[in-house]
Structure formats: structure tokens, C-alpha cells
Amino acid sequence: MSDINRIISRAAREIQPGNIVNLGIGLPTQVIHHLPEDMDVLIHTENGVLGAWKQAQPEQMDPFLIDSAGAYIATRPGSAFFDSAVSFAMIRRGKLDLTMIGAFEVDQQGNLANWKIPGKFSPGIGGAMELAQKTPRIVVLTTHCDKKGAPKVLKHCRLPLTAAACISRIITEKAVIDVTPEGLVVREKLEPISNEALQAITEAELIFPPELEAS
């Protein structure tokens, strides 16, 4: 399984029946394809859909119905369409259970940086800031290191923050890591890797609880 597939298939298991979930652009968007067709879940998209579903088949695409990543989507029975003010009211009122989101950097305080690289990349904030700040549970999906091999799980984010202390869990191709008051706790390894090797590619200090080795 590719690194990306490992992240996505593990991430799909984060979604519980009855959840309302927002899937950010990038890796999170692809998680929907790993969900059972009959799963009791409502996917929220910032552009005003509750009950979004997988990409529509070509002959069923509706040119007036996309998700917030821009793909023509199908919807589930029980879906609703609404304007952007209502969509973000839903977000700010904490009505979403879970948001999965990509990241440039995360850190051991649970800070998230994913919207701007000063001087290089600043296409706008989009919906990320409100999702990150207001969803009760934020799960970050990211490769463990960037394309140059530099760690993305840091002691302190260096880029402008999207939101502070917002992350609950980080899923990389290497591990599932929880943000806790004690620090970053490794919950699962997603490939065979020693604690030392995982720590070596992680700037933040990782906590390896005893039960991890037993698993």
C-alpha cells in the first residue's frame, strides 16, 4: 500500500456512525472513497452541502453541485443545501463532530499551520481557520516529512498558524499520534519502524507508551 493510501485508509476508521464530518482539500477529500456505501454519516462541505457523498458518475454529474474541493459530487438521501452563512454557522456553532485537514506543519501544542507560507504561498484562508478553530475534533492527515525529508511534526510551528491548540490527532504514513496535555503520544505505528527511527524523523518529542510495543 502506498504511503498516501495508508494514511487515507487509516483515517477512514476515524469516522464513527452518526458523525457529521468535514473533509478538507487534499488527502482528506479522498477518505470518502474508503467509507461503506451505507454508512450512517453526513459529510459537510463549506459551500453549503450536508450529506455530500462520493464523486458522481459522469452521466449523473450536476454542474451546479460541487464539493468544496471542486469535484462534482453525489449526495445521500437526507441531504440539505444551504447558503454559506448557514454553512459556517454550523461550523462555528460546533455542530460538526470531526474535521480532517491537511497541514504544512503541526506541533506538540496541537497547533496547525496550513494556509500560508510567507513569500511563497498565500492563496487565501478559505474555510480552514474556522474549521480548525471550531470543530470539536481535528484530525490532521499529512505525510510525516515534507518532500525534502524535513520533519512536519515540530516542537513549535514556524509558519503563521491556522489555529492554535486545535489538533486532536495526527495521522501520517508512519504513525497515529495524539495531542495530549502531556505531549504527543504515539498510539499506533502504521509501518514497521523503531521508536528511535520514528523519533529521528520527528522534531517534536514523542511519547511511546508501553502498550504501543505490545500491540
Binding site: 459551500n47 451546479f64 460541487i66 452563512a85 492563496p123 487565501g124 474555510g127 481557520m129 474556522e130
Partner: protein
């Protein structure tokens, strides 16, 4: 109450220097025909207020590429490389807001209020010290209302009074912008007689609409766009 005008009449109301809200999130909801008429008439020094910049070569990107736009107020232009270049070159001024704040600032203008107290991005770089308000024991960011001279709106259906119904995700910012702009120009390919739209299913009541342009048909711009098909 009949608000019908020709597309030329409707767009000719817009002067140089106008601020214009444009509905749409990506393609759905973008009033491509009204935008094309604005391109044709050539009004200049415009301020556009739209969630995104569409993609290169379509929608408001045409107006920006054609040099008609001085400033864009937006939330995300990541899908338009050319507009990012123009921003980085300093040719186009761009003001970004978080998407829900953008929506709410427009809605606040539409409600006839002047601003609202928010905690979004309160401690981030988007909040300047002069936006902070300590009020009755808590700290807020004051987000001011965002209005405009005009709004350009695409509706799936309308009646001649200007009652509007949107389709699917094409609703997005349109009902908010219709409330917030002083003059609201709407295009639709499906114009009904008064009474044909179900009164409880109208998204924008006619009081908010100034001009209604009935399109003979929807062009290819409104169809399935290759860039929206995920691969």
C-alpha cells in the same frame, strides 16, 4: 413589479469604479453571462467581491486578466495561477478573509447592521490590534459589514417580480450578496410568472432584486467543466 431588462441595460447601470459582489463558489453560482457582458462593456477600476477568482479564462478571471479590476476581496484563489501572479506582481490588490467571516460580513451588511463581534483568528496574524475590542469582560475581533454597489447573481429559477431559487451548491453566497448590495442584477434561464414558485421555497425574496435578465439558454460555461472532475 416586473424587473426584466436586457442584459445590456442591466449591466450599463454599472459605472467605472463600482464595487460588485459576484455570486458563486467555483463555477456553480457564477453569473457567467452577466460577467461576459461586463467584459464587453469594459467598465474599469472595479472592486470585485467573490469567494474565489474562478479559474483562468472563465468568469471573473476574464475581467481581472482584462485589467478591469483594481481590487479583489476574496477567501481563496488557489485554483487560479494567473490571478495569483497578478497579485504577487502588485497589479491586483487582494484582500482575504476566512470564508465564513467573508460570508458573515456580507450578511451583516445585508441585515442593515454595521459589524459583528467574532473570535475567529483572534490571535492570528489576520487580526490587527486596531480590530480588537474589549467589551463586557471578553475580547473580540470587530468584523465590519461588507456591502457593495452591485451584486451579480445567477438563479436557477426566478419569477418576473424577482423572487429567486438557487440549485444545489450554486446557492453559496448569492442570497447574502442579494441582501447586501444596493443594486442586484440577476440572470436566469428559467423565468416564471408570479405565483409559479412555491412561496415557502424562495431563497431570495423579490424585494432584494433590482434587475432581472432572462438568458435565452445557458452556454457551455454552465456545463460540466473538466477542471471540476476529480481524477
Amino acid at each position: 413589479m416586473n424587473k426584466q431588462q436586457t442584459i445590456e441595460q442591466a449591466i450599463a447601470q454599472i459605472p467605472d469604479g463600482a464595487s460588485i459582489m459576484v455570486g458563486g463558489f467555483g463555477s456553480p453560482g457564477t453569473p457567467f453571462a452577466l460577467i461576459d457582458e461586463l467584459l464587453k462593456q469594459g467598465q474599469k477600476h472595479l472592486t470585485l467581491i467573490k469567494n474565489d477568482a474562478n479559474e483562468m479564462g472563465i468568469g471573473i478571471s476574464k475581467l481581472i486578466e482584462n485589467g478591469q479590476v483594481d481590487k479583489l476581496v476574496s477567501t481563496h484563489i488557489g485554483l487560479n495561477r494567473r490571478v495569483i501572479e497578478l497579485m504577487n506582481e502588485g497589479v491586483l490588490e487582494v484582500e482575504f478573509h476566512p470564508q465564513g467571516i467573508f460570508a458573515e460580513k456580507i450578511r451583516t451588511a445585508g441585515a442593515g447592521s454595521f459589524g459583528f463581534l467574532s473570535d475567529i483568528g483572534l490571535e492570528s496574524e489576520i487580526t490587527k490590534p486596531e480590530d480588537l475590542l474589549d467589551w463586557k469582560g471578553a475580547r473580540y475581533k470587530v468584523e465590519m459589514a461588507l456591502g457593495a454597489d452591485f451584486a451579480l447573481i445567477h438563479a436557477a429559477q426566478a419569477d418576473t417580480f424577482g423572487n429567486l431559487v438557487y440549485q444545489g451548491s450554486a446557492i453559496n453566497f448569492s442570497p447574502l450578496m442579494a441582501m447586501a448590495a444596493n443594486q442586484v442584477i440577476v440572470e436566469t434561464a428559467h423565468c416564471r410568472a408570479p405565483g409559479e414558485l412555491e412561496p415557502a421555497c424562495i431563497h431570495t425574496p423579490s424585494a432584494f432584486v433590482s434587475s432581472l435578465v432572462v438568458l435565452p439558454a445557458l452556454t457551455n460555461d454552465y456545463g460540466i467543466m473538466e477542471h471540476h472532475v476529480r481524477h
